[in-house]
Amino acid sequence: MKRRDFLKAAIGGTAVVALGEAEARANLEPAPEAMGMLYDSTLCIGCKACVSACKQTNGMPPVIEEGNPQFDSARDLSGDTLNVIKVYLNGKGEHKDTVSDGYAFEKRSCMHCVDPGCVSVCPVTAMRRDPKTGIVSYHADACIGCRNCTMGCPYNVPQFQYNQPFGQISKCQMCNQAGVGRIDKGGMTACSEVCPTGATLFGPRDALMKEAKRRLALKAGEVTQFPRGDIRHPFHPHEKAAATYQQHVWGEKEAGGTNVLHISAIPFDQLGMPPLGERSAASISEGVQHGLYSYLALPAVALAGLTYLVRRNTNGHKEGEE
């Protein structure tokens, strides 16, 4: 075989397989009984009761800044923080849920993607998507700590405990992790349970999606009832005038959608949400990987060819000869 032919064949083969097979997998669909949460930024008052309840449930210490122990001062997700409320501030910051000279709140926690990047990239299946509820869980006993999950997560959610010699990944497991198991017992997440305004609402993804769309259809100022806790059997709802919602349910379609949905009066890019299309990066990555390696067929053929050539060529000449 001439060098040029070999290179042509090798490059052509890779390109054809990569391009031809890469579109093979579509986004995953929501789990049959997908559970999630609806975060309504316009209802959030920034009290951080959810942050506190989350830490209690998960046995994590508060983050103390500037010697003020009254408040958990966590500014972002970390090995010790699975849920955090961030502030949007513009100009004078006088009016809630207003883009200019306004302020608003935004929750950061695992979005429980329908097509989770962390699950797709984990080499040792330490990240798992529950086939029934769609909850994305973490299993430290399998994890090697490579942190590809953080790299493959569009929201940078999985956090390694860098401050510990024997750390692990921390992420929200929707209060359904071993030892807590609230969802399996028919309960709700701790953050939804303590939210005083219903800004964080727990429930089946379908029901939450319907509720989100009902709110977006309200006229600004229209008084309506907002359920609290678990949408299936809410605590006493409260009445409030609707804000001017952006006509966008975050998580309906982004990168295949999420089980945690967000709605807001501020455009999501200004709240720090990532620039995502509808296609999940995981689906593209898996398309390429399976195109090249399904049943190890391509490597097996290549190895057979290489073994033949190398054997012939090592017999043909001895060291240092042409």
Binding site: T14, L276, E321
Partner: protein, 380 residues
């Protein structure tokens, strides 16, 4: 009888001691990482989960270690036997480079005491590019040990074992060509799942594996040229320029293919306009392109590629370009979200520098003790 001879010169020289000091500093910080956790040594944060330990030690370092791979294709697949004298030093450099990559991956693992989980089939996630990279690199290190072992067996005069090994060696050589093809392309595929975080000029989606493989081969041939030139100067070996210029032609073809695929991809994906954004990313892309064009200009001229110095410049430029291509994609233009930035800490850099120093020390010891370099009387 083998045409390879140990250099036999003194091992402990002033440069060797200097390297030892650097390595000791690196190992000190590495010990801190294990005692106090990664946060005490690195600047990694919530969104920059991979720093230079992954990107240099594994992603770039293993590409630098592709000399053995490139030469194995040349000698054993394409049957160019005249390049055989170059193969042992190249294999040794590959072995050391990959061992460093494997070691780097190990101490970068947050849960290193559970590393064996990746070897247990019931844990395997076949959707994961990282699984393929991990298993493939690990296997390839073992294959490199086997491929290099004749030098050690010759030294100890283990003739029977050598004869058995020589009979089976063709199979390990074949695997040794297959495995880097797989994991070097997969190092590119790792970028796909990172989606928008990878700058659009580097996020070529389905073309990632092909571009990574082409740069790995270019860098593999370049490192052979580089090591050949360096050994000539530093270890006072006879010049191997006539052999090396042939490898230069391989670089021309592969580099041409890389640039063609890269620019056509940008065109098809509608990203050519980004080259004229005159922002940081377009500047870095320009620097890369200049580094890629320099070797093309040198190697396309028959007169220049006869010149050992020019050949060395071409190889170094190619190595820098290939390394920068990977650094840019994984680190320098990597943008995981507002509010996050990363620059390696001094201890973090020292760990990597210390390991490189250790790798060079190991190379020097091994070429002086074992029959690695081709006999000085050799003429190409």
């Amino acid at each position: 009888m083998s045409a390879y001879k140990p250099l036999g010169s003194r091992i402990v020289t002033p440069p060797f001691i200097a390297l030892g000091v650097i390595a000791a500093i690196g190992f000190f910080f590495l010990a801190m990482r294990f005692i106090y956790g990664m946060g005490s040594v690195t600047n990694l944060n919530g969104a920059h989960a991979w720093g230079i330990w992954v990107v240099y030690d594994v992603v770039v370092g293993t590409a630098f270690a592709c000399g053995g791979y490139a030469l194995a294709i040349t000698v054993y697949v394409l049957n160019k036997g005249k390049y055989h004298p170059l193969i042992r030093p190249a294999l040794l450099a590959s072995l050391l480079g990959y061992a460093l990559g494997g070691l780097g991956a190990f101490f970068d693992m947050g849960r290193w005491w559970q590393f064996y989980n990746i070897l247990l089939p019931w844990n395997w996630n076949f959707n994961s590019v990282m699984l393929e990279v991990g298993l493939c690199v690990l296997t390839y290190i073992l294959v490199l040990v086997i491929e290099f072992s004749p030098a050690v067996l010759e030294h100890f005069g283990a003739k029977k074992l050598l004869a058995v090994l020589n009979k089976m060696l063709f199979f390990f050589i074949a695997i040794g060509v297959l495995l880097p093809t797989m994991h070097q392309s997969s190092l590119g595929s790792l970028l796909i799942a990172m989606g928008y975080k990878v700058n659009p000029l580097w996020q070529t989606w389905q073309l990632q594996p092909l571009l990574a493989l082409l740069t790995a081969l270019c860098m593999g041939f370049s490192i052979v040229v580089f090591e050949g030139s360096f050994a000539t100067a530093g270890l006072r070996r006879p010049s191997e320029t006539p052999l090396l210029k042939g490898l230069g032609m391989a670089i021309v073809g592969l580099l041409g293919a890389f640039l063609a695929v890269r620019f056509i991809t940008l065109l098809v994906q509608g990203k050519l306009g980004l080259l004229f954004a005159f922002d940081f990313a377009s500047f870095m892309f320009l620097v890369e392109t200049v580094l890629f064009v320099v070797p093309l200009v040198i190697l396309l001229s028959p007169k220049r590629r006869e010149n050992g110095g020019q050949l060395l410049i071409a190889a170094v430029s190619m190595l820098l370009g290939g390394a920068l291509y990977r650094f840019d994609a994984f680190l320098i233009t990597f943008a995981p979200g507002v509010g996050y930035s990363y620059f390696p800490s001094v201890p973090e850099i020292m760990v990597t520098v210390g390991l490189i120093a250790f790798e060079i020390m190991a190379y020097l010891v091994l070429v002086k003790l074992f029959p690695v370099m081709h006999d000085a009387g050799h003429e190409a």
